[in-house]
Structures are given as structure tokens and as C-alpha cells.
């Protein structure tokens, strides 16, 4: 580890970029205690490999920004609200800490659960969550809505971990659906950009389905515009073409590696063996039903109707086959999605043929299935009320051609870790499950928003603001926390949250209508905010403490969560350090260190160390475990974790391990099984096409909510069969609000927190679209709007004003936005007033939230008109 105070010569220091959650390995050139250059680490071959994005480089500018918060601040204006000046005055650290600790002592004596810690300090979650546990509150929460509730859940169910990409090394037919993998945004952007470019060099076809011709669509062989929120319908239409019209589906894979043959009775449940209770399948060869894992199954039926125990039943795949034929004809799908029937049929056929069902490939001596066609999707598909099933319908395209965790196909984010550190396993019903999140988020349950979605968790009336108790089948639950804090009576918490600690989150600008979302903040007695700049949410704080920049602090180790931020598929395992490369200015501290200071003053340091030992796993190695009555820093703990990971992985790690030459722990190449888990695990742990476990989970939720006096809780999404359901916005007639909102992401602004960066702003000001809305030429003509006009965009809950670009690059029924702008806080003077805050237009209405996964819909109907000057 580096001693930053004596860097008088030029020195390259290895660390990890914190510009987004992807954790690229970087080397940072420091001279005289100043950062003068940032580049990707060329030696991290499965990561940045010498590349780094513009946003990552632009962070240099942030270090020298005079608008940084440098002293603790106290609010003098008791009135709190959107755009209301808090009247900050500077106070001493001593006064700030005295106020905070007095308040926290009182709250802890009353009921510690009244404290909520909300943050998106992605890789460091365990510090805040260990602090929360030590304090006695279960409310340590990720505060983010920018992520995928249905999406992460679906991936955990089908690919054995919480993210998914495409094996660009071998894929020949790449479908990016509301996603821009390999185009500077999305997961692992540096390796993905390199691999995507190589795929295009060797002639891979790229099809992009998106309402807006963003970066990926610009590079595609074919851009297919679609109406927002209709993705599931298009996917089911394509599935109908493949199964019923063309007969293109991987029968062998579906029979052996999915629950397609599981027999379903009239109630929708599995037909189970009366003795063993195992799901049954029909063996065509022997003409009888057998347990799903009977080694004597010769030919499992996935089509047809059977009678077992005098009960009529069908294989689950047979139900899906009939379901798509009946409900998703090309004519109907064209009407829903606006994609021409001919295009749907052609793309389905191209995709099915490109998958080369039945083909194999030899990889390092192992013969594996080869399926060089895959569909990839992220927030665009996920951010709708039917979130889980929208994702499941798209995933079904990959599943029916057998393109799951095989070369060329859709790859889970490292479903099997080195030495099986985390891995896939099978449930009693033989379906795929994963322990990755338990390993990654610490061995002490999960106080963060992640949890294992399958097998379903227990259902009880919620005791936490995270409300996970009512989401038995979701793997990632976030936005509901804001609703619970805004309307605590409605959600019947047994206590009322009183104090909020906020860091690295801005949910008021990133959820829905700010005035409504603000209730989550104005309900609090006391808010402590950590800030390097004061954003819109932190304008509601009572005290602000200055927070270090990522270039000035340590992270948890490894800094790249290895289950997500190591290139998927083939490559090396690598564990990175994130360490301070320069000192934070005087009076500025890493917020996690400040939490440890607070723990000391509250007298809960022993509890904190104990929780940290459990969460980090340090307790497993006695000489590394944190000792009672000792105060450690984040850096001390990170180094101990590096030593622990080293000892687990068989590498010696010391304080001097991470140097310019040896920047990271490299464990060498993944095995073939680690790179392509599918052929190794799916014969045992099967991929679901039919979500039978939802039926009973939904019934439990219905009972618990009814008994708990919340009969209004919606359980209508708890169905086993993938389907399209219209967004709440579709229920409006569209006469007045005649257009839909959609957004696309910009590489320079990926994962936001970019708008107040002086360099990024300088480029964005000059880019064609960055701070603008986009409207189709024909639509603009009808409304008398010209390129460059200032227009109003109005939904039934809000209005924003901004500059419009008239273009052919957007669906005619859509107003497109580029990234997220429109910041209004005084603490972000560069960002203030630039661009458009799309979220202002989205209703903060519980009807927008899917109660299966927890995803909030971002689909809103809007009207546009020229704004009078």
C-alpha cells in the first residue's frame, strides 16, 4: 500500500476507478502530491487492459474543484423543500460530531431501528452495513433506483449470477435490446468495447432494438425502433415464430437443462410424485411419468398432453408453445410494438439460424455446445412495471436456442468463482440457484438490497425500510424504500424512521416527481449527509460532513467485486486494490472512516469490529481478525482483506504487494468450467422457463398482506408464465399526452455523478445531443417545432423545459432524452440548469411499482409544445 504523503517524484500508483461501479483497474501518475494522469492498467488483461473512458480521466478535474465541500456545514433554514436554500453555515468538526453523536445516542436508546443509512457506495457497502448492525438497525440500504430489480432477479434465476453479457469472443449474431453493451456504457465497458470491436472486425452482425438510435444503434447493422415498454411482446412474437412457425428450438437442451419437461397440472403447479414430492416428467420412451432427476429418463417430453395420477397435465414448454401461439401473433405484436410483422419474422429467423443449434466447439480440449447468437438487455427493458417478465421473455429467446452460459451465447457474470469461492447449486426441484450474493455481500445475511431470489425467502410483515420481507422471489429490491420512508403509515412499519444518514446517493433527482419523493426526506427528524458536492437530496440535510474523493480513499478488497467486474467468459481472475493516490485536503475524510469515528464515540466499536469480521470473513483467519477495543481505519481493514483473499487463493500478500509493477493479484486463467458454466451445471441445476414457485409465493404474500391490513398490495404479477403486460402509462388514453418518454445513456455520463464535472460539461456542451431532448422530424413538423427550439415537456405530474433536437434518430411517438441532467442544487454550480431532468416527469406513485420484483416503471406519457419565451 502507498504512503501518499511523500510522493515527491513521479510515480504510477495502481488503484481502481470509481467513476462508475465497473471498477476498472487504473494506474495513476502522481507528482508532488498531485494527480497528473490516469490511464487503464495494461496488465489487467480481463479488465481495462490499458484503456479508460473519458469519464474516468475527467475525474482529475474533480480533485481541484473549488466547489468541493471542505468543512462541516450546518443548516440554518429549518424549512426543507425542493429548491429551498438550506442556509448553510460552516461549523467545526467537533461541533458537528457532538451534535450527531448526541442525536444518535438518543435515537439508539429509544429504538435503534429508527436510524436508516442510505448510500450507493457500491463496493464499500459492508462498512456502512456493519455500522448499521453494530448500532442495532436493520436499515442499511442501497439507495438507488438506477438498477434492475427484475433484471438482476431474472439473471440470478437463469444464468447463476446477477448480471449477464454476451460472449463477444465467439458471438456472430448480437442483439442489444435497450442496451449498449460494448459501446462505452453498461457492464465492464473497457473489455466489452474491445471485444465488441473485435467481433465487428470479424464480421459479427449487430442488431439493436431501441426507441432511440443511441450509440449502439448508431453502430449497428440494423436499428429496429420500438415503442417503449413493449419489449416482452416483441420477444414473445419472435418466440412464436421460432417455435410454432419455424420449429427452431434446441430440443435436447430444453429437455435436459431446463424445466421445460416438468409436468404442469390445471392449477399451474408441478405435478409431483406422491412419495418423494419431486416434480414429474413424462418419458416418451417408456410411456410413463418419472421423477425429474431419474437417471433412467430416456426421452423427456416437452410437448403433448398426458395423464398422470388421473390428472391431465402438460410439459411446461408445451404450455408456453400454446400460449405464444394464441396470444402473440405477428399481427398483434406489430400493433403493440410498432415493429413491422415482416421485420419480426425476419429477425427471429436470422437469430434462430445464427444460433447453429446442435453445433459444438472445442475449447482448450473440452467439447462444448456452440451457440453464437444471443440477446442482451439491461435497464431499457427492465425499467417497466412488468419488469421481471419483460426480462424473462427476452431471456426465453436465449433459452430456447440453448444459448445460456455456452461459447458464443449469453453469459452470466462469472457464476462459478475461483476454487468455487461462490458457485451455482440446485434446489430440491432441480432448478438453478446461486450463493454468489451471500459470499459477495458478507456472510451475515444481507442487509443490503440484494438477496437470493430462489428458493423463495420467507414472507412476513416487514420490519425494515428495505421491505424485502414482502418480496420472496426478488433478488434486488430498492425503490420501495423511498415509498416506505415517504408514507410510513401506509406501509405499517412497527416504528417510524427518524434519522437518515446519506452518502453517494441522489434519489430525489433520480426517482420520480421530486416534490412527492421529498416526503421521504421531510419526514425525518434529522439527516446527516456526506458530500463532496451538495446534490439535490443533500439539500435536505441538517448537517453535512465533507467526504473524500475516490482518488483519496481505500475501498473494501477486492475493489472489483469479482462476481461482476471481471470480464465474463474466458480470461484471468484478478483482484484489484483501490487505494488513495493523493491525500484528501485537510478536514476531509472518507465517510466510512467517519462512521468508525462515530462508532467509537457511541461506544460501539467492538460491535462494529465484530460485525466487520463476520461480513468480511476476516473471522475465519484469527491472525487477521479485527481485535476488540481497537480502532481500525478502512485502509487497515482493506489490507487485512487483501491478505485474507491472498491466503484463500494461495498468494502471499503483504503491505508492499501493490506496486507499479505488481498492480493486482492475478490468479491466472479461468478454467473452461469457470468460463462457460452451462454445460457443467445445467444438467443438474436446470434453467427455468416456467416460474412455478411464483404461484405459492404470491399466495403467501397475499395472505400476509391481508392479515397485516394491507389488502391493497398487488399480487397479480405472481404468475408462472412469461407474458407482456402494458405499463401504467398505457392505461391512459393518450389524447392529451400523446408521446412517450424514453432515455438513452451517454458514455461520458454513464452511471451519472458526472454532470458537475468541468471537463465533461465542456465536452457535453459541444456535443449534439447531450443536454437536449430529441423529437422525430415528422412529429416536430406536426407540432410546429423546429430544431433548437426551447420546448416544454409535460406529463400529468410535472413539466420540464429544454432545448430540442429534431432528428430521424428517434421513434415518432417518443421524446428521447440523453442521460440525466437538469440539476437544480446550488452545490453543483457546473451542472445546475443544464440538460433536462427526465425523472421529474415520472409519477412517484405506488401503482408504478411492480410488487413482484420491486421495480418502478419509468414510462410516462408526455406532451410537448414550444415554450413561450
Amino acid at each position: 500500500m502507498q504512503n501518499t504523503s511523500h510522493n515527491t517524484q513521479e510515480k504510477w500508483i495502481p488503484s481502481t476507478c470509481g467513476a462508475c461501479f465497473n471498477s476498472c483497474a487504473v494506474k495513476i501518475l502522481v507528482k508532488d502530491g498531485k494527480v497528473i494522469d490516469i490511464k487503464g492498467d495494461p496488465s489487467v488483461t480481463s479488465g481495462s487492459r490499458g484503456k479508460i473512458c473519458g469519464k474516468g480521466q475527467a475525474r482529475i478535474a474533480e480533485l481541484y474543484d473549488p466547489n468541493r465541500v471542505r468543512k462541516p456545514l450546518k443548516r440554518t433554514n429549518p424549512k426543507k423543500g425542493v429548491g429551498i436554500d438550506p442556509g448553510w453555515v460552516e461549523i467545526s468538526w467537533e461541533e458537528a460530531m457532538d451534535t450527531i453523536v448526541t442525536k444518535m445516542k438518543k435515537i439508539r436508546e429509544e429504538d435503534p431501528r429508527q436510524l436508516v443509512i442510505g448510500h450507493f457506495d457500491f463496493n464499500n457497502a459492508n462498512f456502512a452495513h456493519a455500522f448499521a448492525s453494530a448500532y442495532g438497525t436493520p436499515n442499511g440500504e442501497y439507495f438507488t433506483v438506477s438498477c434492475g430489480n427484475g433484471l438482476h432477479t431474472l439473471f440470478a434465476n437463469t444464468v447463476g449470477n446477477y448480471n449477464m453479457e454476451i460472449d463477444l469472443e465467439y458471438c456472430n449474431y448480437i442483439v442489444l435490446w435497450g442496451s449498449q453493451l460494448g459501446h462505452g456504457v453498461n457492464n465492464n465497458p473497457m473489455p466489452a468495447a474491445r471485444d465488441m470491436a473485435n467481433a465487428r472486425r470479424r464480421g459479427a452482425k449487430l442488431v439493436v432494438i431501441d426507441p432511440i438510435c443511441g450509440v449502439a444503434a448508431a453502430k449497428a447493422d440494423e436499428w429496429i425502433p420500438i415503442l417503449p415498454g413493449t419489449d416482452a411482446a416483441l420477444a414473445l412474437g419472435m418466440i412464436n415464430v421460432l417455435i410454432n412457425d419455424l420449429g427452431i428450438y434446441d430440443r435436447e437442451y430444453l429437455k435436459k437443462c431446463t424445466n421445460s419437461p416438468y409436468l404442469i397440472d390445471a392449477t399451474g403447479h408441478y405435478l409431483r410424485d406422491k412419495n418423494s414430492n419431486k416434480p414429474l416428467v413424462w418419458d416418451i420412451a417408456d410411456g410413463k411419468a418419472k421423477e425429474f432427476d431419474d437417471p433412467d429418463i430416456k426421452d423427456a417430453a416437452i410437448e403433448g398432453a398426458f395423464t398422470v395420477y388421473d390428472v391431465k397435465c402438460n410439459p411446461s414448454f408445451d404450455l408456453i408453445k400454446k400460449h405464444v401461439k394464441k396470444n402473440y401473433s405477428l399481427e398483434r405484436v406489430e400493433k403493440i410494438t410498432t415493429v413491422p410483422a415482416k421485420t419480426i419474422a425476419r429477425i427471429a429467423k436470422e437469430f434462430g439460424e445464427a444460433a447453429m443449434i446442435g453445433s459444438t466447439i472445442n475449447i482448450r480440449g473440452e467439447q462444448l455446445p456452440f451457440r453464437p447468437a444471443a440477446v442482451e438487455f439491461k435497464k431499457g427493458v427492465n425499467a417497466h412495471k412488468n419488469s421481471f417478465f419483460a426480462c424473462a421473455c427476452l431471456q426465453m429467446l436465449n433459452i430456447i436456442v440453448g444459448s445460456i452460459n455456452v461459447p458464443g451465447g449469453a453469459l452470466g457474470s462469472n457464476p462459478i468463482g475461483p476454487i468455487d469461492y461462490w458457485t451455482c447449486f440446485k434446489s430440491d426441484d432441480g432448478l438453478l440457484a446461486t450463493n454468489a450474493i451471500e459470499i459477495v455481500s458478507g456472510l451475515e445475511g444481507t442487509y443490503s438490497c440484494f438477496k437470493t431470489p430462489y428458493p423463495p425467502s420467507d414472507v412476513t410483515m416487514p420490519q425494515t425500510v428495505g421491505y424485502k420481507e414482502l418480496f420472496p422471489v426478488s433478488g434486488y429490491i430498492t425503490t420501495i424504500t423511498t415509498f416506505v420512508l415517504a408514507y410510513p403509515e401506509k406501509f405499517k412499519l412497527p416504528y417510524k424512521p427518524k434519522m437518515l444518514i446519506l452518502s453517494r446517493t441522489n434519489f430525489i433527482a433520480s426517482t420520480g416527481e421530486p416534490e412527492e419523493t421529498a416526503k421521504a426526506l421531510t419526514n425525518m427528524e434529522f439527516i446527516l449527509g456526506f458530500a463532496w458536492k451538495i446534490n439535490e437530496t443533500l439539500e435536505f440535510a441538517d448537517i453535512i460532513l465533507p467526504e473524500a474523493h475516490d482518488l483519496e480513499r481505500y475501498w473494501y478488497f477486492p475493489a472489483n467485486l469479482p462476481a461482476s467486474f471481471i470480464k465474463f467468459g474466458q480470461g484471468d481472475w484478478h483482484f484489484q486494490i483501490c487505494q488513495p493516490v493523493v491525500d484528501a485536503p485537510p478536514g476531509i475524510n472518507d465517510w466510512n472512516n467517519t462512521l468508525i469515528d462515530i462508532a467509537e464515540r457511541l461506544g460501539i466499536l467492538d460491535e462494529f469490529n465484530d460485525r466487520m469480521n463476520i461480513r468480511s470473513g476476516l473471522r475465519m483467519i484469527p491472525e487477521l481478525a479485527l481485535e476488540p477495543k481497537t480502532k481500525y481505519t478502512v485502509g487497515d481493514i482493506a489490507l487485512r482483506m487483501a491478505k485474507m483473499m491472498g491466503s484463500i487463493m494461495g498468494k502471499e500478500v503483504t503491505a508492499d504487494t501493490f506496486t507499479e509493477k505488481e498492480t493486482h493479484i492475478n490468479l491466472g486463467p479461468k478454467t473452461v468450467r469457470e468460463a462457460y458454466a452451462g454445460p457443467y451445471v445445467n444438467f443438474e441445476a436446470k434453467v427455468p422457463v416456467y416460474f412455478e414457485h411464483f404461484i405459492d409465493a404470491g399466495k403467501k404474500v397475499e395472505k400476509v398482506t391481508k392479515d397485516g391490513g394491507m389488502g391493497w398490495w398487488d399480487v397479480s404479477h405472481y404468475n408462472p408464465m412469461p407474458e407482456w403486460r402494458p405499463c401504467p402509462a398505457f392505461e391512459e388514453d393518450g389524447k392529451e399526452f400523446d408521446l412517450f418518454l424514453a432515455a438513452t445513456k451517454l458514455p461520458l455520463h454513464y452511471h451519472s455523478t458526472s454532470a458537475d464535472n468541468a471537463w465533461i460539461d465542456d465536452v457535453s456542451t459541444r456535443n449534439r445531443f447531450d443536454y437536449c431532448a430529441i423529437v422525430n422530424t415528422e412529429t416536430a413538423k406536426k407540432k410546429g417545432i423546429k430544431d433548437g427550439d426551447i420546448i416544454a415537456i409535460e406529463s400529468r405530474v410535472g413539466k420540464v423545459v429544454g432545448k430540442v433536437k429534431v432528428s430521424e434518430l428517434v421513434h415518432p411517438q417518443v421524446v428521447g432524452m440523453f442521460g440525466i441532467g437538469g440539476h437544480w442544487s446550488k452545490g453543483q454550480p457546473i451542472a445546475k440548469g443544464k440538460g433536462i431532468n427526465i425523472n421529474t416527469l415520472v409519477p412517484f406513485d405506488f401503482n408504478m411499482l411492480e410488487t413482484l420484483s420491486g421495480q418502478m416503471d419509468t414510462c410516462a406519457r408526455v406532451k410537448i409544445y414550444k415554450e413561450a419565451k
Binding site: K31, D32, K34, V35, I36, D37, I38, K39, G40, G50, K51, I52, C53, G54, K55, Q57, A58, I60, A61, Y64, D65, P66, G182, H183, G184, P189, M190, A193, R194, M196, A197, R200, R201, C213, V215, A217, A218, K219, W223, I224, P225, P747, L748, A758, W759, I760, D762, V763, R766, N767, R768, N776, T777, E778, S807, E808, L809, V810, P812
Partner: protein
């Protein structure tokens, strides 16, 4: 001339991410509003059959540079590696070169400016510090080339759509790319013979 440095940019692979724009800024410390490297974009066609193209632009380091021809003081010159450079000591800021350059690659610096008042950001080579009333532009990262490094925009490009090399070496990657595809230069009718080529 020993060598003639040149760049080939594959427009099919450029994703318009502006990593190059930022790398250039970080390497040279250009002041607010000044970009030696930019990414332009061009839209053509009718919905939904449209083309959206990203086009990175920088100084073309022409073999027959119009900027050099018009420079009254000899401040603009071609060095022995084919780079078109500006000697800030000799430059009188007459802006004749700005009018002459058909590629809008040059910027006049009237006053030294920082992104934050009185806060020069301490990055890169401080080649520009203290020069006012002069004209600036891309140098192909001449100082990095001297150290055996690639230009910053080439090194950083995530899809590696930029290739840098010697036009005088028939075996070089740049020559291979120029020969292999329909490479083109910008505004060939200006007779400048740019050293930056594009392929699609």
C-alpha cells in the same frame, strides 16, 4: 524526411465515447472550450433507415499544410517526422493559419484560462503554460512520441479504432490499412495531403 507519422481512424468502430477527447485534454492541459481532438457526428437518411456516424477530428498534419504556407513568421513548421507544429515563441497570433486551415484544427488563445478561477489543474506536460496571444493545435503528442509512447488519443481508444504509424514504411500497419480498404482523407481537393486517413 526520416518518417512520416500518420493516423488511420476506422469509422466503423468509433463509438463516439470521447475517451480520446478527454485523453487529449488530460495530456496537454488545454484550456476551457479548447479541443485539439473532437468527435463530430453526422446523421443521414430517413427514419428508420438512418445512419449516425461519429467522426473524430484533429490536426491532419498535412504534407502540404496551408497553415505553414501562410505563416508570416515561420512559427508553423513541419518537423523531420512530418509533424506540423507551432513554435509559440515565434507565433505572433495573426490568425492567418486559422483562416487557411480547411479543417478548423486551430484555436487562438487570447488569455490563459483555467476551468476554475486561479486553479491550474496540474496535469500533463505544461507546454502551454504562460503562452498567450498564440495559436494552438494538436501535435500528434510530439513529446510522447519522443518517449516512445503513442499519441494519447491512440493509446486510450477503447475499441482501438485509431492506428498510428509511419507512412514511409511500406510494411507499417497504417499503410496496410490504407491499402486494404477504401481509405480517404478529408477535403482531398484542398491539395493538402493529410496524414490522417479514415476507413469505413
Amino acid at each position: 524526411m526520416k518518417q512520416r507519422y500518420a493516423m488511420v481512424i476506422d469509422l466503423k468502430l468509433c463509438i463516439g465515447c470521447n475517451s480520446c477527447t478527454m485523453a487529449c485534454k488530460a495530456a496537454h492541459g488545454t484550456q476551457p472550450g479548447v479541443f485539439w481532438n473532437k468527435v463530430l457526428e453526422k446523421e443521414s437518411g430517413k427514419y428508420p433507415s438512418v445512419t449516425r456516424l461519429f467522426i473524430p477530428v484533429l490536426c491532419n498534419h498535412c504534407r502540404d499544410p496551408l497553415c505553414e504556407t501562410v505563416c508570416p513568421t515561420g512559427a508553423t513548421y513541419r518537423n523531420e517526422d512530418g509533424l506540423v507544429l507551432v513554435n509559440y515563441v515565434k507565433c505572433i497570433g495573426c490568425k492567418a493559419c486559422i483562416s487557411a486551415c480547411p479543417y478548423e484544427a486551430r484555436t487562438y488563445i487570447e488569455k490563459e484560462k483555467y476551468y476554475f478561477p486561479n486553479t491550474p489543474i496540474p496535469y500533463g506536460v505544461n507546454e502551454l503554460r504562460g503562452y498567450e496571444g498564440v495559436v494552438q493545435k494538436c501535435t500528434f503528442c510530439v513529446d510522447r512520441l519522443k518517449k516512445g509512447q503513442l499519441p494519447a488519443c491512440v493509446e486510450v481508444c477503447p475499441p482501438s479504432c485509431r492506428v498510428f504509424g509511419d507512412l514511409n514504411d511500406p510494411q507499417s500497419e497504417v499503410n496496410r490499412l490504407i491499402r486494404g480498404k477504401s481509405a480517404f482523407q478529408l477535403l482531398p481537393d484542398k491539395g493538402t495531403d493529410p496524414s490522417v486517413y479514415y476507413i469505413r
